[in-house]
Amino acid sequence: MSVATSIGWTRDEIAQRVAQDIPNGSYVNLGIGIPELVARHVPQGRTFIYHTENGLLGMGPSPAADQGDPELINAGKRRVTMMPGAAFFDQATSFAMIRGGHLDLSVLGALQVAANGDLANWSTGADDAIPAVGGAMDLVAGVKRVFVMTTHVTKEGEPKLVPSCSYPLTGRGVVTRIYSDLAVIDVTARGFALVQLAPGLSFEFVQERTGAPIINLALEASK
């Protein structure tokens, strides 16, 4: 069993940081995987309503192991529960919510994010890969604010924040903000811009692990 490195934020700390940026009463779609952790860290006094694109608004936490209903599931096909005020609907209605701009926020994982906000998160384009996209392209095209939660670099140490994506795109210019284990970074008209560093990390440390320049607004302001 590997031990997590002590550098930067843990997954749960990233999730907590994301949750801090979500206003009370928001309608939120959490992507499969790491983004699901956000639901565990709702700040005191706030209520978020979770949408799962397979047809439920008002999704609640997972049921106890070996409990739950195999036909009450989330987009990751895992059993979930429902909250008071929940509603079930069909796929056309669910994606009308997404495509029509009714969701406040989508939190997604990433393979690569480009400095212009392009996102690649569904395929590495490998020859033997089975192509599968699900609702990712609809989410990034329809939801106004798209947050990405990701490790800052790949397991091989390659930057995931890049000048331009080499993997097939999920959407063009769609990412609003990136929450990694090392930093919170906005996508701006001028490219990546630092919002916050993880505790103990320097700007240079993060820049070295990023494939494109990061604007340091604090530094610029002090000049």
Binding site: I49, L57, M97
Partner: protein, 236 residues
């Protein structure tokens, strides 16, 4: 804790500004949100574009809004219901613009606006005056017309019951345009005869999910156009 209730119809429509586009539910009197419309008359916004299937009857509700000359344009499928005199008079006097749209195309354009579908091709109206000036295109040997989605600044609709999250149920054929209008506006305001706590409605039976609703106004005994007209009412 989410609670979309606002205290009154007046409060709910307070920020509708001059020049706004406003969708108003109803097929004839069924589903017409009379109390919200009357609040809009009191509020005074003018130069409105209204999207509604009909044009109201008598001197109340939608007809009263038109009569107060607050509406510069109406997008509509059937503006001459029996008992409708206000619209015909304004139209003949050149005081209101009409965009006539087939009923199903109107419904689909509103749905498209709410669903992020910018445009669609339909066979409806091909070869008729209502297709004039519209782009057409042949698919599978049949001509179709390109129709564009409609969005609005505000939607005013009437439901039977809502919970505090804005999940809405309707009453019979009063449902008509409300579910799609709820999706197609920046701000959707629904008046309902009953408000319940979140969790009291069956999640399987929700017609309009709360994500589409911004403000819920409790109007316990909504008026009906026909009942008001029977007693010769006019508003204000």
């Amino acid at each position: 804790m989410i609670d979309k209730r606002v205290g009154s119809a007046r409060e709910a429509v307070a920020d509708i500004s001059d020049g706004a586009t406003v969708m108003i539910g109803g097929f004839g009197e069924a589903g017409s949100p009379i109390e919200l419309i009357h609040a809009l008359i009191d509020q005074g916004a003018k130069n409105l574009t209204v999207v509604s299937n009909n044009s109201g009857t008598g001197l109340v509700g939608l007809a009263a809004l038109l009569r107060a000359q607050r509406v510069s344009k109406i997008i509509c499928s059937f503006p001459k219901t029996a008992g409708s005199t206000v619209f015909p008079d304004l139209y003949r006097a050149g005081k209101i613009e009409l965009e006539l749209v087939p009923q199903g195309t109107l419904a689909e354009r509103i749905r498209a606006g709410g669903a992020g579908i910018v445009g669609f091709y339909t066979p409806t109206a091909v070869g008729t005056p209502l297709a004039q000036g519209k782009e057409s295109r042949v698919f599978d040997g049949r001509e179709h017309v390109l129709e564009l989605g409609i969005r609005a600044d505000f939607t005013l609709i009437k439901g039977r019951v809502s919970d505090t999250h804005g999940n809405v149920l309707y009453h019979r054929t009063a449902r008509n345009f409300a579910p799609m209008m709820a999706t197609a506006a920046t701000v959707t305001i629904v008046q309902v005869a009953q408000v319940v706590e979140a969790g009291e409605l069956d999640p399987e039976g929700i017609v309009t999910p709360g994500i589409f609703v911004d403000r819920v106004v409790h109007v316990p005994s909504p008026a009906l156009e026909s009942a008001l007209n029977e007693v010769g009412a006019s508003y204000p």
